[in-house]
């Protein structure tokens, strides 16, 4: 059987440097796929020997998109190691920052990064604005009206884009996949989505401000400290609290009136596009509780997984079963290792000479992955030796399986409105929808955390817990929790008052890692298999599928040590084995 390879490098509209290669047969059906990260930064190595109080500021720089995730994780891992329990005010304030992050990250992902896989901007110029304006009412949730889709507004959008197109140089939209066979929106639907693309540029600024109120700035907020939060003046200021609440409501409103509606619209338009509704091949989903809303409550409270797409059975996590393998990663082989025992010796072997279908459909010389050998800077995390998908989809389906009432309500209503079966969640469309449903869950229920904070502030002013770091003691601890791209964990060990060892197992590593030593492939690679490409020169189906995970590759490739250095070793504490 004659097969051909299509190299896609760079995958754009993501964070970081990623390459994906697919092998197609004579019918353009994907037979195999390889995911390769092309950058290594080595931040954990840099953390060794540093003041534990500094760790959060450095881990934060792992990623500027999920800019708060690694900050909170770095701070929390140290608190966990030192046995610090931050005051409730601090914990809830951190949740407020999470809300801002999720709102920001998810709407920007869908509209600025992912939308160009679904929306044909030039087609929107052919739309009838009146018709589009009326159509927009079809997709909103019950009790809501659409936003930014009035006929007057849509006419303005068309005018603005028409002027832009007339330039003759589309700038960042040049060479897009407009007109591709798998683009399914009608001109009117494209116009609705385009209007929201522009509106989101405005809304994302509000979400960033929302974070800055208690975070000091965005990206890279700076108000967390080991033991609590520093923004005590802002928390004592009723005007600041009101400012936050107002912005939260604006974002919540936008989530329902635009984001939710556009996903319902996409479900209607793309419901029969095979590349979008092809069922995932990997049926394991893993998540960990996130967004604390009260002393003992979490908005998404599940810590565990489901297997084989089975929404009927929830399994609790056992942290000792988290391991990483490097068989196909650019490190000397160590076998499967728990993050506490991780050892990483860089061993870059590069790509090999090969051929790829190029942008014209011709076979040309290219560098390709050495599929039998090593081909990525990302490791392969496994749970109990099995690959797992993490991310909003995992968060939603596992919480659903566990019986989280809020998640069930949001998911069931969406399925009822779209007429989709639950099984449709396990697709490219479902992954993109789940991110929105996670945002909607925050929009509909998040203010509970805010109200609890306000109540608590009336009786308790503490924002930081005191602590000491005993230089004669050894500490170890970790953070685990879902961040916008899925389950993140940071593992640390402190000795002589400084960081002895630091490891992070990040969401995109779970999803984007190469095959492991047992030949089991991660989510990116295995879920592409079986997909048919309309035109191998323009592999939009692959790009759309990969974007549906919201790749964050800087996060995935920092997890390394320098040559020959051991990252320390000790056994997993069974105390951390349950959540």
């Amino acid at each position: 059987m004659a097969t051909k390879r299509v190299v896609i490098d760079p995958i754009t509209r993501i964070e970081g440097h990623l390459r994906v290669e697919v092998v197609i047969d004579e019918n353009n059906v994907i037979k195999d796929a390889y995911s390769s990260a092309t950058l290594w930064r080595g931040i954990e190595v840099i953390l060794k020997g540093r003041d534990p109080r500094d760790a959060g500021f450095m881990t934060q720089r792992i990623c500027g998109v999920c800019t708060y995730s690694h900050y909170k994780a770095g701070i929390t891992a140290v608190e966990n190691a030192l046995g610090i329990k931050p005051p409730l005010n601090a914990l809830l304030t951190r949740t407020l920052l999470d809300f801002a992050l999720f709102f920001h990250d998810h709407i920007v992902h869908f509209y600025q990064l992912h939308a160009l896989d679904w929306v044909d901007i030039l087609s929107a110029l052919q739309a009838d604005p009146k018709k589009a304006s009326e159509e927009a009412f079809k997709y909103v949730p019950k009790g809501y009206n659409p936003i930014a889709t009035g006929e007057d507004e849509l006419r303005e959008v068309q005018k603005r884009v028409a002027n832009f197109a007339k330039k003759g140089d589309l700038g960042p939209f040049k060479n897009a996949y407009f007109g591709h066979k798998t683009m399914k929106f009608t001109p009117e639907q494209n116009l609705i989505a385009l209007s929201h693309y522009l509106k989101t540029l405005e809304m994302q600024r509000i979400a960033a401000q929302m974070m800055a109120i208690f975070g000091g700035k965005n990206p890279h907020p700076q108000s967390l400290t080991v033991g609590g939060v520093t923004c005590i003046m802002d928390l004592q200021d009723p005007a600041r609290l009101a400012e936050y609440m107002t912005k939260f409501k604006e974002l919540a409103d936008y989530t329902n009136r635009a984001y939710y509606a556009d996903i319902v619209m996409a479900a209607a338009a793309y419901g029969n596009e095979p590349s979008v509704v092809q069922k995932n091949n990997l049926g394991n989903y893993l998540t960990y509780r996130t967004m604390q809303t009260s002393a003992n409550g979490w908005l998404f409270d599940a810590c565990g997984y489901i297997k084989d797409f089975d929404l009927g059975k929830f399994y609790e996590i056992d942290e000792s079963k988290i391991e990483e393998d490097v068989t196909h990663s650019w490190y000397k082989d160590t076998g499967f290792r728990h993050p506490y025992n991780g050892e990483t010796i860089p061993d870059y072997t590069g790509y090999v000479d090969g051929e790829s279908v190029d942008g014209e459909g011709n076979l040309v010389k290219a560098k390709v992955a050495n599929e039998k050998g090593k081909y990525s800077w990302i490791k392969s995390p496994r749970y109990d030796k099995e690959p797992m998908e993490v991310g909003p989809l995992a968060c939603m389906v596992v919480n659903y399986a566990k019986g989280n009432e809020k998640v069930r309500k949001v998911v069931d209503e969406f399925l009822a409105q779209t007429g989709l079966p639950a099984e449709a969640l396990f697709t490219t469309l479902g992954r993109t929808a789940a991110r929105m449903l996670q945002t909607k869950t925050i929009a509909d229920y998040g203010l509970e955390a805010f109200n609890n904070l306000v109540e608590n502030l009336k009786v308790d002013q503490s924002t930081v817990a005191p602590y000491v770091i005993d230089k004669n003691k050894e500490y170890k601890g970790r953070f685990i929790g879902d961040v916008p791209r899925g389950m993140l964990s940071h593992w640390c060990r402190i000795k002589d008052g400084v960081i002895e060892n630091w490891q992070a197992v990040v969401p995109s590593t779970w999803n984007a890692g190469p095959a492991d030593g047992n030949g089991k492939k991660g989510a990116y690679e295995v879920n592409l298999i079986g997909m048919k490409l309309a035109d191998p020169a323009k592999p939009l189906e692959v790009i759309r599928n990969i974007h549906s995970y919201d790749p964050c590759i800087a996060c995935a490739v920092h997890v390394m040590d320098v040559k020959g250095k051991k990252l320390g070793e000790f056994k997993v504490d069974p105390l951390y084995g349950a959540c």
Binding site: D9, R13, G42, I46, G64, Y177, K217, T225, T230, S462
Partner: protein, 375 residues
């Protein structure tokens, strides 16, 4: 330096170049609901940001009008995309956004529609079509160890180092956006496993550094407009940072400066003093050693900045700050200063200056603390 005639001449030259847009920027702004007056107001504000006399406002406006003659290529190296995200936040005035769109962004892999071969084609086309005319913005440090193998880009697995050098060759101006491309950044912190460097270390052309982790959008846009105005790099300090943005210390315009002078310090986060907004120097604020305009411009449309949120500055726009400013929550003068950077000579100079300043400031803090009747 501030010769209006020269600037006008420069703009006249630019005007002769073919533009991308069929309409002038003022026409486009007008279509988007901005009046000529709004535009001039914006120009005036930007002139102030740039540290120019008010008489320059109309010239700034003229410069913005010819800005589409300068295509921009934005290259991502070893980075976290925080700088691009910062740029995305630009707002008040919304015109910034339009200006940025209008400057003809030819390549930016976070927002461009094309991927893979199509993206490569855009890149090569831009370099060819706008040879010698494009502004190169670089986000991220450049890994140099082992031939730069720690970063490859594109179907031919070209190293970031090679791509940077090749792209810089025909660039009209090179702007390092953020601390990573300016000074190496987080990945260059000791022991710098990938040999990451600021891009000026591997290029033979002048590079203007716009550091910060991330820098504010105003500083980025301001720098680009400056390049257009003068056809050269703006006035810079020792570290090639534009003086208009990095001319003052954070400390100079800090809202808590009065408390510093009065000797009122936060000793513990979460304390009464913290609630009263006292100075954060003793909690490690590096504002006295850090040159940037955060205390004036703040972030996210003036919503806040770290010091307002109760945390000290960590010195993120200074070279080598990850090593030289640590620990971030302790005053610099409290501990022996030892840098682990490779560039020992530059460091020694920096250390001396920092230490002298540090000792003086610590002395002030101590003396004022004694004088303070509250203590």
């Amino acid at each position: 330096m501030l010769d209006v005639q020269k600037v006008k001449q420069r703009i006249a030259e630019l005007r002769k170049l073919p533009g991308i847009a069929p309409k002038s920027i003022s026409e486009i702004l007008e279509e988007n609901g901005f009046t000529r007056r709004d535009f001039l107001k914006w120009s005036g504000a930007l002139a102030v940001t740039l540290g120019l006399p008010a008489s320059f406002a109309p010239v700034v406006a003229e410069a913005a009008e010819v800005s589409d003659r300068l295509p921009v290529v934005w290259l991502h190296l070893a980075e976290c995309t925080g700088c691009s995200e910062s740029l995305l936040r630009t707002d008040a005035p919304t015109i910034d956004d339009l200006i940025f769109n209008y400057i003809n962004l030819q390549y930016h892999d976070t927002i461009m529609a094309a991927a893979g071969w199509q993206a490569e084609e855009n890149y090569e086309d831009a370099l060819e079509k706008f040879k010698g005319r494009y502004v190169l913005c670089v986000e991220g440090g450049v890994p140099t160890k082992d031939g730069g193998e720690y970063l490859t880009i594109g179907p031919h697995a070209e190293t970031g180092l090679h791509k940077l050098k090749r792209t810089a060759k025909d660039a009209a101006a090179i702007i390092a956006v953020g601390t990573c491309s300016s000074f190496g950044g987080i990945q260059a912190a000791a022991p710098n496993p990938t040999g990451a460097k600021g891009i000026h270390k591997v290029l033979s052309k002048p590079v203007i550094n716009v550091p910060g982790c991330p820098p504010s959008a105003k500083n980025i846009v301001g720098t680009i407009v400056y390049v257009i105005l003068f056809g050269q790099l703006p006035a810079v300090d020792n570290f090639n940072r534009p003086k208009f943005a990095y001319g003052l210390r954070i400390h100079d315009l800090c809202e808590r400066r009065g408390h510093f002078d009065a000797g009122e310090f936060v000793e513990e986060f979460g304390s009464e003093e913290a609630m009263n907004g006292f100075c954060l120097y003793k909690k490690g604020c590096k504002g006295p050693y850090t040159f940037n305009n955060c205390s004036r411009e703040r972030f996210n449309q003036h919503t806040s900045w770290p010091v307002q949120a109760g945390h000290g500055c960590i010195g993120c726009s200074e070279p080598d700050f990850w090593d030289s400013m640590a620990p971030y929550e302790e005053p610099l003068a409290n501990h022996k200063f030892s840098s682990v950077s490779a560039d020992a000579t530059a460091d020694k100079v920096g250390i001396t200056i920092l230490t002298v300043a540090g000792v003086a400031i610590a002395a002030h803090a101590a003396i004022s603390a004694i004088k303070n009747p509250k203590e």
